[in-house]
């Protein structure tokens, strides 16, 4: 159980850090205006001036990818925040207090996991309608059960540990025990779950926008751009490749962080 840096964690942090910086930069500045069309610069292959080339309308793809990644990144962060906070809350309560509430919530959880996550998100979107905020809401809701399941196990395992018992004997309230004593000790489980959740959120958002039921234009997201690029696959394959590469790198980086965290916890040999 070496609690130090390892290669995977470092590589993941460097990759994700670089991408995050690029994406943050993209909120304020992009090399070109991502929506500006240019008749003279149509369908240019990647070059030093246009890192990922240009599309049918002469728009700079690298600038578009930065903007799109920003949207995807933000949605994934918000989704994980919603799923993580509420899921941990449900998991903590059901794991710590067993009984009727536990069984009811867990049955409901089982029923929810019977839907593949993208399907559930589709249903919610079909009811609420598309758009950035509804996507966040739908995905956030969909991600609650998986977080609840993971944290419930962690909290249930800690319920009868000695330090929790002594805290209880010393008169600490349930809220204090849960937040001050148990929560920090579930981080080992929670942090890798967050990395997996983030990646699933990126995937889910990109899939939904690809299907045209997620983020609506003028908001660009990577999934929407990928579906747009499919029409230009013959003339500008670099559009699809650049966009897809951004998704892959984003998930790959966070995946490496997750792998590194699990190794640091000694879960994988």
């Amino acid at each position: 159980m070496k609690r130090k840096m390892n290669g995977y964690l470092l590589a993941g942090l460097v990759l994700t850090g670089t991408l995050t910086l690029l994406i943050l930069l993209g909120f304020f500045w992009t090399p070109y205006n991502p929506t500006a069309m240019s008749g003279s610069e149509k369908l240019l292959a990647p070059s030093l001036w246009h890192l990922m080339g240009t599309d049918n309308f002469g728009r700079d793809i690298f600038s578009r990818v930065l903007k799109g990644a920003g949207t995807t990144f933000l949605i994934a962060l918000c989704t994980v925040a919603i799923g993580g906070v509420f899921g941990t809350l449900v998991g903590a309560l059901t794991g710590y207090f067993d009984g009727a509430v536990d069984s009811i919530l867990m049955r409901l959880n089982d029923a929810m996991t019977a839907f593949p996550s993208i399907l559930l998100a589709l249903v919610i979107i079909s009811i609420l309608g598309g758009g950035k905020y509804n996507v966040i809401l739908a995905l956030g809701l969909v991600f609650i059960p998986s977080f609840a399941r993971v944290t419930r196990t962690a909290f249930a395992a800690l319920r009868d540990v000695n330090y929790v018992k002594s805290a209880r004997l010393m008169g600490a309230g349930s809220a204090r025990i849960l937040i001050a004593h148990m929560l920090p000790n579930t981080m080992q489980v929670l942090l890798p779950a967050v990395t997996i959740g983030f990646n699933n959120a990126v995937l889910a958002e990109a899939s939904m926008s690809y299907l045209g039921i997620g983020v609506q234009p003028p908001d660009a997201s990577l999934g929407y751009m990928l579906s747009e690029s499919q029409g230009m696959l013959g003339s500008a394959p670099w559009y699809a490749l650049g966009t897809g590469l951004m998704i892959v790198l984003l998930i790959f980086g966070v995946g490496l962080i997750g792998e590194g965290l699990q190794r640091r916890n000694g879960e994988v040999d």
């Binding site: 029923a111 593949p116 589709l122 249903v123 299907l211 696959l233 998930i251």
Partner: protein, 316 residues
């Protein structure tokens, strides 16, 4: 046997909850289909007549009951936008999606089990690190992106297939399976990586157990122990994982069908969501959920056969 019965009862309970939630969600929030169906021609009398015809005036529980009864007798209602029985509308796409899922599942198991067992035998070294990184990279490639890349390479560059022209099972069954191979690969690729990873860690964990050490100390060679004892004992989590994979394949096919313009269940679902054709959406959602729950139950039942301890309701 008792455990099996209990598991099937749980399956029924879950399905009732799932179907009721689906029914309730669409019922509460979809608004009045009668109004939206009639559109600009809506007059109060026409709406009332159509509501009567669609049976929307009955209480919620009665409508749920008749919908469930219809589900078992194959009467899934009538599609709003196609004016066809939902059962008839769904049959063809369901067959295509089943075929696509089966193909993906075969690919996943055929590739990942040998690869997983092989990599589990090699421990440590630079090769192990490379395989972890390759695994993470494969897991990071979304199926729809693989689909776009496959389209580019095999349809546009090599012209092995015509994108968007699904031959159809009726006329060209073999060509259809060939066409479905590309989406199946797209779905299978990240799942293969996940399965290999899962297999590897399960087998390695099992290899550290006492009985393996004993077997080896008695002069058995490592691979003999691996094939004769360890693989059998590693089956339970693998079966559970493969059941989850079934669920993920279905979810993946919703998206990938769109990439390759395969007229399957996912495409019909998306079109129906777009048209607000709720009877069709409802039926597809419940069928897909049933599929997932069935896969989970099947996995539990298989595991009870593999591991007698589970039959007694003991260790989980």
């Amino acid at each position: 046997m008792k455990e099996a019965a209990k598991r099937i009862l749980m399956l029924l309970i879950t399905m009732v909850i799932v179907s009721f939630l689906t029914f309730l969600a669409f019922d509460l929030i979809s608004g009045d289909p009668a109004t939206s169906l009639l559109g600009t021609e809506a007059t109060p009398e026409k709406i009332a007549a159509l509501r009567e015809q669609l049976g929307l005036n009955r209480p919620l529980l009665v409508r749920y009951g008749s919908w469930i009864a219809g589900f078992f007798t194959g009467n899934l209602g009538t599609s709003y936008s196609y004016q066809l029985p939902v059962g008839q509308l769904i049959r063809g796409p369901l067959l295509i999606t089943l075929c696509l899922s089966a193909l993906s599942f075969v690919l996943i198991t055929a590739v990942s089990i040998p690869v997983g067992v092989h990599t589990a035998r090699r421990t440590g070294g630079a090769l192990a690190t490379v395989s972890v990184v390759v695994n993470q990279l494969l897991m990071a490639i979304p199926p729809f992106f693989t689909g776009v890349v496959l389209t580019w390479v095999f349809s546009i560059l090599l012209k092995w297939f015509t994108h968007g022209r699904f031959p159809g099972f009726g006329e060209h069954p073999l060509a259809s399976v060939g066409y479905l191979l590309y989406p199946a690969v797209s779905i299978a690729l990240p799942r293969i990586a996940m399965t290999v990873r899962m297999l590897c860690s399960t087998i390695r964990g099992e290899m550290e157990k006492d009985y393996v050490r004993t077997a080896i100390s008695r002069g058995n060679d490592r691979s003999g122990v691996l094939y004769r004892h360890v693989l059998k004992n590693s089956m339970v989590p693998v079966v559970t994982f493969l059941a989850q994979t079934m669920a993920e394949i279905v979810a993946g096919s919703i998206v990938v069908e769109q990439v390759f313009a395969v007229p399957g269940l996912g495409r019909l679902l998306l079109a129906s969501i777009g048209n607000r054709d709720y009877p069709v959406v409802q039926a597809i959602v419940v069928i897909l959920a049933l599929w997932v729950v069935l896969a989970g139950t099947a996995a539990d039942l298989i595991n009870q056969r593999i591991d007698p301890r589970l039959r007694l309701g003991g260790a989980k």
